[in-house]
Amino acid sequence: MLPKSSQLKQLIRMIKTDILIIGAGPCGLFAVFEAGLLKMRCHLIDYLPQAGGQCSEIYPKKPIYDIPGFPKILAGELVENLMEQIKPFKPGFTLGERVEKIKKSQDGLFHVTTSLGTKHISKVVVIAAGLGCFEPRKPNILNLSMFENKGIDYIIKDPMVYKNKKVVISGGGDSALDWSIFLSNNIASEVSLVHRRESFRGHPDSVEKVNQLSKEGKINLITKAEVVDIQGNDNLQLLKIKSDNQIFDLSADFWIPLFGLSPKLGPIANWGLNLDKNAISVNTLDYSTNIEGIYAIGDINTYPGKLKLILSGFHEAALMSQSAFKHVFPDGKKSFKYTTVLGQIEGF
């Protein structure tokens, strides 16, 4: 019997891999390389919409000075290099989704489900989640959660969702400026930008562009103001804006507060792992956790003498991969070879 369409959809969304890596920062990416050398396939999940973790999200233009072999490298360049390095091993990515549940079945496989319901099955789970999930900073407003995903978005994944809609963006940084400019270009029917201060401290070009679009009537610029209340029925309909001690109404289909991202441990705390001050305790023999088949590498783990350095995470990724081999290929014989001996990197 053919599966029903809903079942088929579920099957299609089920991703199978040898090693599932939670966190696509530098350590997670390098783990793909080390695992690939041992013929283990990897899939990465990250809440951010792009790979690279903190290096891409927080400081892509900052130079790093303690990556061996690179006297100086920009964090963003390091991520680009790592992506190039792991290309032969064709890793899969589930981006913009947060891992919610990990369940180990009797056959030893891990069933991992994300916030959007994407299901993954793997023989090994590696947590390389750095500081945890980068979650949006949320405004302190009553009833906020009632309208989340019903008019309130903190991350823009698909701008076309806002086609012909009335959109209000809050914030004073580059994200707020850039998205206001983007959405005002024949996407949203109305774009309002609400900022607490009179001036913006984003990139000067973006500030100038927003001011120009405001003069042209394409962006409704509301400064020295903030959203203080939200109203609607099933979906968001109205924002109350406070400016100069006056409160006025602003009709809106969407409100996008862009106040940056903040790392939180999130659901990791509920997976039964031994924790020590917001970090996962591991055995330094192979960086395994208290749950057989789950490893933790990089800034998320802790052990005596732990140094939160990218280079430490790379070392941990190598040792983890050697240990994970026994879970992926229980009857396999592992041979350790230098990449110089291999002559070339054989991918999948």
């Binding site: 927080i58 400081y59 004073g172 940084g173 106040f259 940056g260 001050k277």
Partner: protein, 131 residues
């Protein structure tokens, strides 16, 4: 426990004394802290050269400083009462980050990773702001 008033909160403070081992005879200062859960602390610390306020609080196990002190994550965003205390001016990098925060307060907000540890900070009142 001593009763302490930090900002508008007056309650018994928990003392954290990190000054006991002082072979180099460094200056000692006292920092009054109210955590975002309302607990009040008095943190006594030595004035180590080359440390900033965030590092001192992080060493005392306050959860902050995720970006390592680059003014890039705002996990050390605090409100500061600074009567009679002259703080280092806000840099443009710090202002860029503060400007993005919903909880920004024009007169009190600072990223304490940008404030060098100095003897003049003795008695400073700090409220850690919840993201």
């Amino acid at each position: 426990m001593v009763k302490l008033k930090v900002f508008d909160v007056e309650k018994k403070a928990i003392l954290i004394d990190n000054t006991k081992d002082n072979p180099n005879n460094l200056d000692t200062i006292s920092i009054n802290i109210i955590d975002f859960d309302g607990e009040v602390y008095i943190l006594k610390t030595l004035v180590y050269p080359d440390l900033n306020l965030m590092e001192v609080l992080r060493n005392a196990e306050f959860h902050m400083g995720h970006c390592g002190g680059m003014a890039l994550c705002a996990s050390c965003h605090c409100y500061i009462e600074k009567d009679n205390i002259k703080l280092i001016d806000i840099s443009s990098e710090e202002e860029d980050m503060l400007d993005q925060l919903f909880t920004f307060n024009q007169t009190k907000s600072r990223l304490i990773c940008q404030i060098p540890l100095e003897k003049s900070l003795d008695g400073i009142n700090i409220r850690i702001v919840k993201d």
